[in-house]
């Protein structure tokens, strides 16, 4: 469904992506792993339209995403949960969620979408009138995921959703992702929690220095010695 080919991007003179090629198929959970600065966020930025690549193509269901304005990409069925959440802090949970369904296609389904979000994250229903700034990091992350879900996406992209979140809430969010995926939404997950991401994902890519250096099935990569050494800590490499 999502086809990225030969993507090249840079910030001024600093290269961020060099010839990145990856795919996300319908109903898949694909993890994107790699160290800080590898270009994972840049990749999501290019797909979502915020970053303009220097070369390469991005096709979504056969349509060239690079030719579409960022705010219209949501309408096509792609939604992003950005790194650091990027919520509208001065506005309420309900307002943030409602804004998630801003695009016409999403707007038509917003009542059902809202119910689905509250079913996934019951905590948010009680807090719907609260100003987002006052919520904890974990609750804000739920709002961020909820806001993206309100767009009725067919592909949900998340950038480091577990960053700075308490472990039990991370569990809850990852469980929610499984449920979302079961409902038919494909997921592209950028995660630094490699173990959790690989347990969840059907497939994964490893990005280092702006290039894809590894690719495979989730379970397969969990057993890969390079992955274990680089991302799962020195103790894991021996096991």
């Amino acid at each position: 469904m999502l086809e990225v080919r030969g993507l090249e991007a840079a910030y001024g003179d600093v290269p961020a992506l060099s010839g990145v090629t990856l795919q996300v198929g319908a109903g898949e959970i694909v993890a994107l792993l790699g160290p800080n600065g590898a270009g994972k966020s840049t990749l999501l930025g290019c797909v979502s339209g915020l970053v303009r690549p220097r070369a390469g193509t991005i096709f979504w269901e056969g349509e060239n995403l690079l030719a579409i304005a960022p705010h219209l990409i949501v309408e096509r069925g792609l939604a992003v949960v950005p790194e650091g959440r990027r919520l509208f802090g001065s506005m309420t949970v309900e307002d943030n969620l409602e804004l998630g369904a801003f695009s016409p296609r999403a707007r038509a389904a917003r009542r059902e979408s809202l119910e689905r979000v509250f079913a996934l994250f019951p905590d948010l229903r009680a807090r719907r009138r609260q100003v987002v700034r006052a919520l904890s990091g974990g609750q804000q992350q739920m709002v961020a995921v909820g806001r993206a879900l309100m767009a009725s996406p067919r592909l949900l992209m998340l950038d480091e959703p577990s960053l700075g979140i308490a472990p039990q809430l991370v569990r809850a969010i990852l469980d929610a992702l499984v449920e979302i995926n079961r409902a038919g939404v494909a997921i592209l997950l950028v995660e630094q929690n490699v173990r959790a991401a690989l347990t969840l994902a059907h497939r994964a890519y490893i990005l280092e220095g702006g290039r894809v250096v590894g690719e495979g099935a989730g379970a397969e990569l969990l057993g890969d010695p390079h992955v274990r050494r680089a991302y799962l800590g020195p103790l894991a490499a021996g096991r």
Binding site: S48, G49, L50, A69, P70, H71, L72, V74, E75, A79, V80, P82, R86, L87, F88, G89, S90, M91, D95, E98, L99, G100, F102, S103, A106, R147, A151
Partner: protein, 292 residues
Amino acid sequence: MTLLAQQIVLGLLLGGLYGLAAAGLSLVFGVLKVLNVAHGELIMLGGYGAYWLFALLGVDPFAALLLVIPGALLLGAGLYTGLFGFVVRAHEETRIKNSLLVGFGLALALHALAVRLWTADDRSISTGYGGAVLTVGPIAIPLIRLASLLVALALIAGLHLLLARWRWGKAIRATAEDWQAALLTGIDIRRAYLLAFALGTALAGAAGTLVSVGYSISPSIGLEWTLKALIVVVLAGLGSMLGTFVAGLFVGVAEALSAAAFGGPYREVVGLVIFLVVLVLRPQGLFGRAPR
């Protein structure tokens, strides 16, 4: 004592218009991140619009609001599409420089236009009920100015509701807070910019109308009102329309008190002192959010 109270009341009434003038500037600044230095000229044009409607067609200035506000909305949309829409495409530094160039250029052009159309003389709208005064004890409250204060408050409250309840009002607030996140949720931020600029211009037009009926206008009032609006915006901080209105009242009263305490010429100085003090002690303003 009575004289002081009288001055304070008059200051309060003028402060309401400062608040209205500032609200438009605050909206544009908060959303587009552009300081429209021609905002005062838009106020001036609003005043002349009402003046023309009165002088040529006999339209009562308060009724003229119903024509000036939509007219100003269209003017704002036009100015954004033709001018400021290009400014917002640039990043940070270029945007700031371009906005000042464009703004000052626009101010000069509008000023020259006004002088050509209406001459440089002061103009004021004198209605039949112009001299009416509400007497509360020893204090005389000019009815026109009181009505203007109420209209200003109503417009600000209306704007507040628009931003709080209307789908595009929320989109405007979201764009002001984080334009990239707004794009990611599917908001066309260019349309949000257009709406914000149009609304800002409409508020300026309304303020101008109220100034022309309660006080007087001339082609040169632009810069003065831009400065007053800016002082109020800095005092209030960004993000609260009602807070901006209150800050306007504050500046109005502060001016009255300083004129009473130090004499007429020092009336304007207090505004500039407030400006500096706020920037040094509490840059986010009274109602703005502290920088994280």
